[in-house]
C-alpha cells in the first residue's frame, strides 16, 4: 500500500499548525488593536464642528470659567452646552463680522440650534451624572483632559467601562479638593493617596463596593 503522506507532509503540518496559531493570535491582536484604536474610540480625534470653537483660546487665553458655558454641571446630570445667546453675550460686541462666527449669528437670527457633533458620548445604557462627580471631587480635567490646550475639542479617554471602573474601584487616586475642580493644570502630587483618602471620608464616598455595582450606572 502506497504511503498516503509524503515526507514533506511533516513540514506542511508544522507550518499549518504554526500558521493557524499565528493567524488566531494575529486576529486577536487585530481585533484588540482596532478596538483600542482611535478609529473605534475616537480618542484624540478632533471632529468637524459648525464653528471651530477653541477651548484653548477661551479658557487659557481669556480665562473664562468652565461654568460660564457649562452651567448645569453642578446641578444636573448634563453639564449643558451653551445656548447661542451665551456665545452672543460677547460676540454681539466682539468679532461681529467674523466669517467664522457666521453660523452662530445665523442660529440667532433664524432661531435654529447650532448642531454640534457630540465629543463625549456615553452609550445609552450607561447613566452618568456630572453633578455628583463634581461634588464628590472629580475635576474636569480628570476625564476631559487639558481642554485649555485644545484648539478644537477632542476626546482624551475611551469612556470604556474599564476606564470608569479604574476610578470607581479606587477613587483616592483621582479625587481633588473642591477649590481645584475647575483648575485645568491640577495634577496629583506625591501624597495623592493620603489626600484621596481624606477626601473620601470628607465627601462620604462609599467605598464598600457599591460604586462598582451594576446598578450604579446601568438601569
Amino acid at each position: 500500500m502506497a504511503q498516503i503522506f509524503s515526507p514533506r507532509s511533516n513540514v506542511q503540518a508544522k507550518v499549518i499548525i504554526v500558521a493557524t496559531i499565528l493567524l488566531v493570535c494575529a486576529g486577536g491582536w487585530l481585533t484588540s488593536a482596532v478596538w483600542w484604536s482611535p478609529y473605534t474610540t475616537y480618542v484624540n480625534v478632533p471632529f468637524d464642528q459648525p464653528v471651530p470653537f477653541s477651548h484653548q483660546h477661551h479658557v487659557a487665553g481669556l480665562g473664562i470659567d468652565c461654568r460660564y458655558c457649562h452651567t448645569s454641571v453642578e446641578t444636573s446630570s448634563f453639564a449643558g452646552i451653551p445656548a447661542t445667546e451665551t456665545c452672543m453675550t460677547c460676540h454681539s460686541q466682539l468679532w461681529t463680522e467674523a466669517l467664522l462666527l457666521a453660523p452662530v449669528r445665523a442660529s440667532l437670527t433664524s432661531n435654529t440650534s447650532l448642531k454640534w457633533t457630540r465629543v463625549y458620548d456615553l452609550p445609552d445604557f450607561a447613566y452618568f451624572d456630572h453633578s455628583i462627580h463634581v461634588r464628590k471631587g472629580v475635576g474636569c480635567s480628570t476625564c476631559h483632559g487639558r481642554v485649555d490646550q485644545m484648539p478644537i475639542t477632542w476626546k482624551t479617554q475611551t469612556l470604556y467601562m474599564k476606564w470608569c471602573l479604574e476610578c470607581h474601584r479606587a477613587p483616592q487616586n483621582y479625587l481633588r479638593p473642591q477649590n481645584e475642580i475647575y483648575h485645568m493644570a491640577w495634577h496629583p502630587s506625591k501624597d495623592q493617596t493620603a489626600l484621596g483618602r481624606q477626601l473620601i471620608a470628607q465627601n462620604h464616598i462609599d467605598t464598600s463596593g457599591r460604586l462598582t455595582n451594576c446598578s450604579t450606572c446601568h438601569r
Partner: protein
C-alpha cells in the same frame, strides 16, 4: 385542598378551567412557556438548521462589531429660564373622567411630557392616578391622532374654515340661531359653560344638546343637580347597589383611599374594619372588595333596595319572598347592620340604576341619619345637567325634520355610540353643515363635513371641576404637536371673532368670575397647586324626594351594558397600553366578550370562546362568550367601546361593537335578550393561566375574627427556613447601607391595574399585541393575579399584584451563564441589559414567573412622536434581552443624588416611591429601607399578617405581602 392551621378551609382557584382541571389549563401549568416548549416541526432539515444557525452566530458576532455612531447635540438658541437640561420639571394640571377633573402632576423632560402622577393636593386624586390618567400620555403621542383640519376628508386650514363658518353663522344670526345646534359630552369646564351661556345669548333660538355614553344622568335626575359627596372613611357599614365607586366613578381614587384606610389592620389591638355589602349583576372592582357580595340581576336591584327600605320601615307592601335565596338573608343582615350603625353607614347606588333606586337610597340614608355625616351635600359640577337620552333624541328629531342647518359636535363619537334605535348617523346626513371636533378622526368625523382636530389636554388651556366642585386650571405642557384647536377656541369662533387664544379665554373667564386684588398672584398660585382655592360656596342641600318604587321580578335573559374596563366608552380605543391591560377578573386583552354566568353556560351548553348570536329589540350581533364566575345567573354583560371601525391602527377592529344593541330605553340594562349558539369559535388572548403555580399558598386571606384569635395564621401556613439554615453566610445579604424592600397589602389592593400601567409608562415597557399575549409573551412587569374562592356561582374574588420579589437567595442569579442578573449591595436583584445574551435560563428558574423576555425588536417600529414619550432615565431594551421589575432603580438613584448633594444626608423614608406605589389609589404598595426600623415598610413588615410568597423555598423575598382580611357578618356565615 389546603387546610390552614386554624382549620378553616381555603381553596383558591384562578379560573373555571383550573377548577375543572381542563387539558388547556394543565398545558399552561406544566409547560411554563408552552409556546417555547413545543416540538420542532419545521420543514428545515436538522443539518440545514445547524448550518444556518452557525452562519447566524458568526454574523451576529460580527454585528456586535459596530462602533458607536456619532451623535449631534443641539443646544437652545435662547435658554429658557427654568429648564435645566437633564432635570425634569413638574406641572400641575388635570385630566378628566366623564368630564370630572382628577388632578395630576405631569413630569416634563426638556419640554416633553413623559409621565403622569397624581396631585396630592387635589381632592379627587390625593396623589393617586387611574389607569386612564397613566395612559393619557400615550394618547398625546399617538401618531394616529387627527393631524389637520379636513373638509370632506381633504386637508384644509383654519383660515379656509372661518369664512365658510361665518357665512353659515350670518344666516343663523337672522333667525336667532334657530337652525344652530351644539352637541357636547358631559362638561364641567366653567369657562366652556360661560362660553355656551354667551352662545345662548347671541343665538337665543339655538340649542345645546349633550350625549355621553357613560352618562351619569340617572343620578342627576334623582338629585336634581349635583352628586352627593361620600365620606367613605367615616362609614362602618357600606351598602352598594351596583355602584363601582372604587373604579368607575369620578371620585374613585378618593373613595378607594378612604375605603382602604377604614380597613387597614396591622395589629390585633384595636383592629377594626368597615363592612361592605354589594349587590351587583357582574363582577366589578368594588364587588370584589365586598365582604358580602350577591350576584343579582340589574333589574332586581330596585326591588332589593325597596325591600331593604321596607326592612328599615320606610316602605310597605313588598313581598320579599319574590326574591330568590340568599338575597332576603343578605337584605336582612344589611338592614340590621345599617340600623346598628346609624350615622356611621352609607348606602350608594350606581349610575346604571334608574333614578327610582337613587331616590330610595336617599330615603334610606336620610332615615339612618347619614346625611351630613357620611354623606355630604354636593355642588352642581356638571354644566347644565340634563337627561342626555332625551337631549340627543330631540337633536335627532330636529335633524330628521331638516331643522338643523349648522351642527357643532364638540368631542365624542355619537355616530358610533349614540343609542342605536335613534339612528344618529342617518339623521346626521340631514344636517346641512356639521363640524366635528375631536382628538382622533373617528366614525363621526367621517360623517361630518368639517373635522377640526382637538388639542390634547396636555397641549391646551382649559379648566374643569372635580366631583366636589374643586376647580383646576388645565395648563399645557407642550405646544400642539399637530394642528390641534381647543374647544374654547372653536366656540369662540362661533360667538366672537377674532378668536383669542385658549389661554386668554380661560384667563379672562377666571378674571371675571373671581375678581381679586392680585389676580396674577392668585392665577399663578392656582396653576402651581393644581387647584383653585374655594370660598365656601353655596352647597346644594341634599334634596330628599320621595320616589315610588315598582316591584320588579321578571324572568328571562337580561342584557347589561357597561363601559369597557380598559378603554371606557371607546375613547381610549387606540391606546395600546390600555388595550393590552389584562381586564379585571377575565384577564382578557385586546378584546371584549359576552360575559355569561356558569349556570347559563351550563344550561345553554356554552364554552368560553363559543360565538353566540345575541338578539335584542330586533337587532342582532355575534359575540364570543366568556364564562365568568360571580356573574348573575340570567344576565349577559357586554362591554361597549370596542368594535371601532375608525380608530387608528391600534383600535380598529378590536372586539365587537356592543353599541349595536344599546337602545335609548335600555342604556344600561334591558330585558328580552335571546342568545343562540352559532357553532363558530373565537380565540381570546387572556393571561388568566399564564404563570400558574398550583398547590402553593400564594394568596392568603382570613377574617377579622380569625385574626383576632390567631394573628399569625398567614405566616404559619408554610414553614419558612430560618435565616441561619444555610451552608453559606447567612448574613450575606444583610446590607450595610440601605436595604430596599417592599410590602404589598392585599387588604388594601382593589385590583384596579393602576400599578401595571404606571410601571409600563415609567419603565418604557413595550406592548406586544394580541397574538403574542395569547402565547404568553406579555411584557408588563407587575401583573395582577385573580384568585377565586368558593363556588363558581358565588365566589369570593381576590387580587394579588405580583412584581419581581427581589429575592435575597435569587434562583435566577444562579443560572445566568453571563452574570447578567446579579445582586447589588442594597439588595436589589439587577438585570444588566448590556450583559444579557437571552438564554432565558433565569426566567425558567424563577418560581414567581416575573421575568419578561423581548422576543422582538419591539421598540424599533416606533414613530417619531412615540419616541418622545419614552422615559429618558430608563434604558429602552432591545431584542433578545430579559427584563423585569427594578424597584424603579432610576428613582432610587435620583433620590440618592438629591440626598448626597444636600449635604450628604440620608434618603428619607418615602423619598423613593416606585411608580406602582405612587399610582396606587389605596396605598397598597409600600416601599422603603428595611434597615431603617422607623420606616413605613419596616412597620408593615412587623405586622403578623406579613408573609413571603413561596418563602418556604428559602428565596427570602424582599417583597412580602400582608394577608387579606375580610370582615364578614357572623349572621351570614355562608355568604
Amino acid at each position: 385542598m389546603n387546610t390552614n392551621p386554624s382549620g378553616a378551609m381555603h381553596e383558591y382557584w384562578r379560573s373555571l378551567e383550573e377548577r375543572a382541571r381542563t387539558p388547556e389549563f394543565e398545558r399552561w401549568l406544566h409547560a411554563e412557556f408552552p409556546a417555547a416548549a413545543e416540538e420542532w416541526v419545521s420543514e428545515i432539515h436538522r443539518r440545514d438548521f445547524l448550518r444556518l444557525m452557525g452562519a447566524s452566530v458568526a454574523l451576529a458576532g460580527l454585528g456586535a462589531c459596530t462602533k458607536q455612531p456619532l451623535e449631534k447635540i443641539a443646544p437652545y438658541v435662547k435658554q429658557p429660564e427654568q429648564i435645566v437640561p437633564g432635570k425634569p420639571l413638574h406641572f400641575a394640571t388635570a385630566t378628566t373622567f366623564v368630564g370630572y377633573a382628577q388632578g395630576i402632576v405631569v413630569t416634563s423632560h426638556e419640554g416633553r411630557p413623559t409621565k403622569i402622577e397624581g396631585n396630592p393636593e387635589h381632592p379627587a386624586s390625593l396623589g393617586a392616578t387611574t389607569v386612564w390618567a397613566q395612559a393619557d400620555v400615550l394618547d398625546l403621542y399617538d401618531p394616529d391622532r387627527a393631524q389637520a383640519i379636513t373638509k370632506a376628508g381633504q386637508i384644509s386650514t383654519w383660515d379656509d374654515f372661518l369664512p365658510e363658518l361665518n357665512l353659515a353663522l350670518e344666516r343663523q344670526q337672522q333667525t336667532g340661531g334657530s337652525g344652530l345646534r351644539i352637541l357636547t359630552q358631559t362638561i364641567t369646564s366653567p369657562t366652556l359653560g360661560r362660553q355656551l351661556a354667551d352662545f345662548a345669548k347671541k343665538f337665543p333660538n339655538a340649542r345645546w344638546h349633550q350625549w355621553d355614553p357613560m352618562t351619569r344622568q340617572n343620578i342627576h335626575i334623582a338629585t336634581g343637580s349635583g352628586e352627593h359627596i361620600y365620606n367613605v372613611a367615616a362609614a362602618s357599614v357600606i351598602v352598594s347597589f351596583n355602584s363601582d365607586f372604587l373604579y368607575l366613578h369620578p371620585a374613585a381614587l378618593r373613595y378607594a383611599r378612604e375605603f382602604a384606610s377604614a380597613r387597614q389592620v396591622r395589629q390585633v389591638k384595636g383592629a377594626r374594619m368597615n363592612r361592605l355589602y354589594v349587590a351587583e349583576p357582574t363582577p366589578t372592582i368594588t364587588g370584589a372588595s365586598a365582604d358580602h357580595r350577591i350576584a343579582v340581576a340589574a333589574r332586581d336591584i330596585e326591588m332589593i333596595a325597596a325591600t331593604l327600605a321596607q326592612g328599615l320601615g320606610l316602605v310597605e307592601g313588598i313581598d320579599p319572598t319574590l326574591l330568590a335565596d340568599p338575597i332576603p338573608k343578605w337584605i336582612k343582615a344589611a338592614a340590621r347592620d345599617l340600623s346598628a350603625n346609624q350615622g356611621r353607614s352609607m348606602v350608594i347606588a350606581g349610575e346604571t340604576q334608574p333614578p327610582a333606586v337613587h331616590l330610595l337610597v336617599q330615603k334610606i340614608n336620610h332615615h339612618l341619619g347619614n346625611i351630613g355625616r357620611t354623606i355630604l351635600p354636593g355642588r352642581q359640577v356638571v354644566a347644565n345637567p340634563l337627561d342626555q337620552t332625551e337631549s340627543v333624541r330631540a337633536l335627532i328629531r330636529d335633524m330628521n325634520n331638516g331643522a338643523v342647518d349648522l351642527l357643532f359636535i364638540i368631542g365624542g363619537n355619537p355616530v358610533f355610540d349614540a343609542p342605536v334605535d335613534l339612528a344618529f348617523a342617518t339623521a346626521l346626513g340631514r344636517a346641512k353643515l356639521c363640524v366635528h371636533h375631536s382628538l382622533h378622526t373617528n366614525e363621526t368625523s367621517l360623517a361630518c363635513h368639517w373635522h377640526i382636530p382637538a388639542a390634547h389636554f396636555l397641549e391646551s388651556w382649559s379648566d374643569a371641576l372635580a366631583f366636589d366642585g374643586t376647580p383646576t386650571i388645565i395648563q399645557p405642557l407642550i405646544d400642539p404637536l399637530y394642528a390641534g384647536v381647543t374647544a374654547h377656541e372653536l366656540i369662540e369662533a362661533v360667538i366672537r371673532q377674532p378668536v383669542r387664544s385658549a389661554f386668554e379665554i380661560v384667563r379672562e373667564s377666571w378674571r371675571t368670575a373671581k375678581p381679586s386684588l392680585d389676580f396674577d398672584f392668585d392665577w399663578r398660585r392656582a396653576l402651581n397647586h393644581g387647584v383653585v382655592p374655594q370660598a365656601s360656596e353655596e352647597a346644594i342641600a341634599a334634596s330628599i324626594q320621595t320616589g315610588q318604587s315598582r316591584a320588579l321580578n321578571q324572568s328571562g335573559l337580561e342584557i347589561l351594558f357597561r363601559p369597557d374596563p380598559n378603554i371606557l366608552d371607546g375613547r381610549y380605543a387606540n391606546n395600546s397600553w390600555l388595550q393590552e391591560m389584562p381586564q379585571p377578573f377575565t384577564k382578557i386583552c385586546w378584546d371584549n366578550a359576552a360575559i355569561v354566568s356558569p349556570q347559563l353556560a351550563k344550561q345553554e351548553a356554552l364554552k368560553t370562546g363559543d360565538v353566540v348570536e345575541l338578539e335584542f329589540r330586533g337587532k342582532k350581533i355575534a359575540a364570543p362568550v366568556w364564562i365568568q364566575p360571580g356573574q348573575s345567573e340570567n344576565s349577559v354583560t357586554l362591554h361597549f367601546g370596542n368594535g371601532r371601525k375608525e380608530a387608528g391602527r391600534v383600535g380598529r377592529n378590536v372586539g365587537f361593537n356592543a353599541y349595536e344593541l344599546r337602545t335609548a330605553d335600555a342604556l344600561w340594562f334591558g330585558e328580552g335578550l335571546t342568545l343562540r349558539k352559532t357553532g363558530s369559535k373565537h380565540e381570546f388572548a387572556t393571561t388568566q393561566h399564564h404563570h400558574a403555580i398550583e398547590g402553593r399558598h400564594m394568596f392568603r386571606a382570613g377574617t377579622l375574627a380569625q385574626f383576632s384569635t390567631d394573628p399569625n395564621f398567614a405566616s404559619r401556613m408554610t414553614e419558612v427556613p430560618k435565616r441561619n439554615e444555610t451552608l453559606y453566610n447567612p448574613d450575606e445579604f444583610k446590607n450595610a447601607g440601605y436595604a430596599w424592600g417592599m410590602v404589598i397589602d392585599l387588604n388594601a389592593c382593589i385590583g384596579c391595574n393602576a400599578c401595571t400601567i404606571a410601571c409600563q409608562a415609567e419603565n418604557n415597557i413595550p406592548v406586544v399585541g394580541k397574538y403574542q399575549v395569547s402565547v404568553g409573551r406579555e411584557m408588563q412587569w407587575i401583573r395582577i393575579d385573580s384568585y377565586y374562592n368558593g363556588s363558581a356561582e358565588a365566589p369570593e374574588l381576590n387580587h394579588q399584584p405580583v412584581p419581581c420579589m427581589h429575592c435575597e437567595h435569587a434562583p435566577c442569579e444562579l443560572v445566568c451563564p453571563v452574570g447578567a442578573t446579579v445582586h447589588d449591595d442594597e439588595g436589589l436583584n439587577l438585570q444588566v441589559y448590556n450583559r444579557c445574551v437571552g438564554t432565558r435560563y433565569c426566567s425558567n428558574n424563577c418560581p414567581y414567573k416575573v421575568r419578561r423576555f423581548n422576543f422582538f425588536e419591539l421598540n424599533s417600529k416606533l414613530s417619531a412622536s412615540e419616541k418622545l414619550g419614552k422615559n429618558p432615565d430608563v434604558t429602552v431594551r432591545s431584542r433578545g434581552v430579559m427584563e423585569k421589575c427594578t424597584y424603579c432603580l432610576q428613582r432610587i438613584n435620583a433620590a440618592r443624588h438629591v440626598a448626597e448633594l444636600d449635604h450628604n444626608r440620608s434618603i428619607r423614608d418615602g423619598e423613593v416611591m416606585p411608580a406602582c406605589a405612587q399610582a396606587c389609589p389605596t396605598e397598597a404598595i409600600i416601599f422603603g429601607d428595611i434597615n431603617n426600623s422607623n420606616s413605613r415598610v419596616s412597620e408593615f413588615k412587623r405586622s403578623p399578617l406579613n408573609y413571603g410568597m413561596l418563602a418556604e423555598l428559602n428565596t427570602r423575598p424582599r417583597t412580602t405581602y400582608l394577608a387579606k382580611l375580610r370582615n364578614p357578618n357572623p349572621e351570614l356565615a355562608s355568604l
